[in-house]
């Protein structure tokens, strides 16, 4: 026997406690999905009868949700583009070159993940307010990119490390130019990583609240800011439906990442998360401003 056997009582206690903890994580999500189909909005649980009405209300005339959704999608798309460009170049510099001050650059890139987001949001507000750019989708996307790019860099660094550099050298030695190597060798091999980085950048921006809150104006409001306002000020049962949709989007995005990783199949990256425990986790992170 090389292992210390656990007692039966110990095992049962541990199982019960960890099941409770898992419920603790999952219940708030499940309850929203179920309630969103219930007739009595937030009345009793489980709901006594079912309806799709809250979803229909979302798209009824005069609803403020479609505008918020389309702004959020636009901002998230812009953020994804910015963060992929920054992520790919930065990862290349950090993994494939002799960069002077490499540690300092790496530290700078990861810093936005630990700096309180209020501080980032406040600084960006001070930057964009005088420029009269509050409420501009570009300004919000530029702000979100500060949070999304570190995640993209981490994912793409892991991806580049997993690509055999000799393949690039081989192409180069046959006379391929740097651009051709990137286009024909590196990018196709890095595709799973690029897709994962794109998806994580998108969700980071789509769920981001605090920077959007500071950079929004009265008539341009992103989806999370709208949800927050509804929860804080007026009670509107359709918020349950929109929350359920947000859950579905996040779950689908994660499933997509899992599929891409599986198909990319090089198997060097396990699980859903980028490397670097802790910091890597901040991937969804900011949602938690």
């Amino acid at each position: 026997m090389t292992e210390l056997r656990s007692t039966l009582a110990g095992r049962i206690t541990l199982t019960v406690l960890s099941t409770l903890t898992l419920l603790f994580l999952v219940l708030p999500i499940v309850v929203i999905v179920i309630t969103s189909f219930g007739k009595d909005a937030f009345g009793s649980f489980p709901p006594s009868s079912w309806t799709l009405n809250w979803y229909k209300v979302l798209f009824a005339d005069g609803s403020k949700w479609p505008a918020a959704v389309s702004l959020s999608v636009l901002v998230a798309c812009l953020t994804t583009v910015f963060s992929l460009i920054l992520g790919m170049t930065a990862a290349t510099a950090l993994v494939r070159s002799d960069l002077p001050l490499r540690t300092a650059v790496y530290g700078l890139v990861l810093a936005p993940l630990v700096i309180p987001q209020v501080v980032v949001a406040l600084g960006l507000f001070l930057l964009f307010e005088p420029a009269a750019m509050l409420g501009s989708p570009v300004a919000i996307a530029l702000g979100h990119t500060v949070l999304a790019s570190p995640i993209a860099v981490m994912i793409l660094m892991a991806t580049l490390k997993g690509i055999d550099e000799r393949l690039e050298d081989a192409a180069a030695s046959m006379g391929a130019s740097r651009l051709t190597v990137a286009r024909r060798i590196t990018f196709p091999l890095a595709m799973p990583g690029l897709i994962a980085a794109a998806i994580f950048s998108f969700i980071t921006s789509f769920d981001e609240f605090f920077i959007s809150q500071f950079l929004s104006s009265v008539d341009t409001v992103t989806l999370p800011v709208q949800v927050f306002n509804v929860l804080q000020y007026d009670v509107d049962p359709s918020v349950t439906a929109i929350s359920a949709i947000l859950i579905a989007v996040a779950v689908l995005a994660l499933a997509l990442v899992a599929v891409v990783r599986r198909l990319g199949g090089s198997g060097q990256q396990e699980g859903l998360l980028p490397t670097e425990p802790g910091v890597g986790l901040a991937a969804g992170g900011e949602t938690a401003s």
Partner: protein, 306 residues
């Protein structure tokens, strides 16, 4: 290490080996600088400069002269109370997520890989769902006639229904569920690496379960506990959504105060000072983490030094 581009054979006809390798390394350096430039410039303009201007603003009086009175204000009366509340709620949250995370991570690290993977999916997926949405879920769950209170009343739990929303209990529950995935992942990473035979060895020498836990297991997990605890604390400091939605007036945290000062009172200087205080607290936390890590390193390496 190889290069991305063809070796510059054409440019250097028959150079000494040294010159060639120097040319190569210069090339790699130039290539690196070129690629690092976008992200560095971006972050300098949109991350470092804004924080720097926040710092400047926090030191500027109404007449534009240097002053510390915004900081003095931050440590006075109601503001000081909010600062202390922030520290208290962050500490409570980190402690609770450490304890709960410890139990879950310990349980998962004993599971077979397939099950462990499944459980970790359950832990990680919520992390990628908007914290706002999860907070809303808690509001539904913890209300006076919410699921939790209904269940407790149904079980004739003494004292039920409880007030679980708009007080500190609610805030700590909500914030903990947001922070828990971090602690579980950090602790799990450490626990997975522990050689379980060490515990068996201790048992074979006659150590009781409690002694093994206290003298063998906990010291081995300690680096993860420190790491997870401090990181969780730092992330809580600037947290806004859950305290704002699930807390009462007594649970106002610094981030809410900054928000009110900027959006409602146009009090940018005061808000900047509060932001800088949060930033300094974060740096202090990171520094403490570094110090504890290197102290732990020294402690583990004791005796191996010459």
């Amino acid at each position: 290490m190889a290069v991305l581009a063809p070796a510059p054979v054409s440019t250097a006809p028959v150079p000494g080996k040294k010159r060639l390798s120097r040319a190569l390394s210069e090339r790699r350096t130039r290539f690196g600088l070129l690629n690092a430039a976008p992200v560095v410039v971006y972050l300098l303009v949109l991350f470092v400069y804004p924080i720097f201007s926040t710092l400047m603003l926090s030191l500027k009086g109404d007449d534009g002269a240097f002053t510390l009175h915004w900081y003095a204000d931050a440590f006075k009366g109601a503001n000081l109370e909010i600062l202390l509340t922030t520290l208290r709620i962050s500490a409570e949250t980190s402690l609770l997520s450490l304890v709960v995370g410890f139990v879950l991570a310990a349980a998962v690290s004993r599971l077979k890989p397939l099950w462990a993977g499944l459980v970790m999916v359950v832990v990680v997926v919520p992390h990628f769902i908007s914290a706002l949405v999860r907070t809303y879920g808690w509001i539904i769950l913890l209300g006076e006639h919410g699921v939790v209170n209904n269940a407790l009343t149904g079980l004739h739990f003494p004292g039920a229904p409880f007030q679980l929303l708009y007080n500190e209990v609610g805030v700590v529950i909500g914030t903990t569920s947001v922070m828990l995935p971090y602690t579980v992942l950090l602790l799990y990473a450490v626990m997975k690496g522990i050689d379980r035979r060490l515990m068996a060895a201790a048992a074979s020498m006659g150590a009781g379960r409690l002694t093994i836990f206290r003298r063998v297991y906990v010291p081995l997990v300690a680096p993860g506990l420190v790491n997870a605890g401090i990181l969780c604390f730092i992330l809580c400091l600037g947290y806004y959504i859950t305290p704002a939605l699930m807390g009462g007036p007594k649970q106002t945290m610094v981030a809410s105060l900054i928000d009110t000062q900027v959006m409602k009172q146009d009090q940018w200087n005061g808000a900047s000072a509060l932001g800088i205080i949060l930033l300094l607290l974060t740096f202090a936390g990171l520094l403490l983490l570094k110090l504890l890590q290197s102290a732990g390193e020294r402690y583990r390496n004791r005796g191996t030094a010459p």
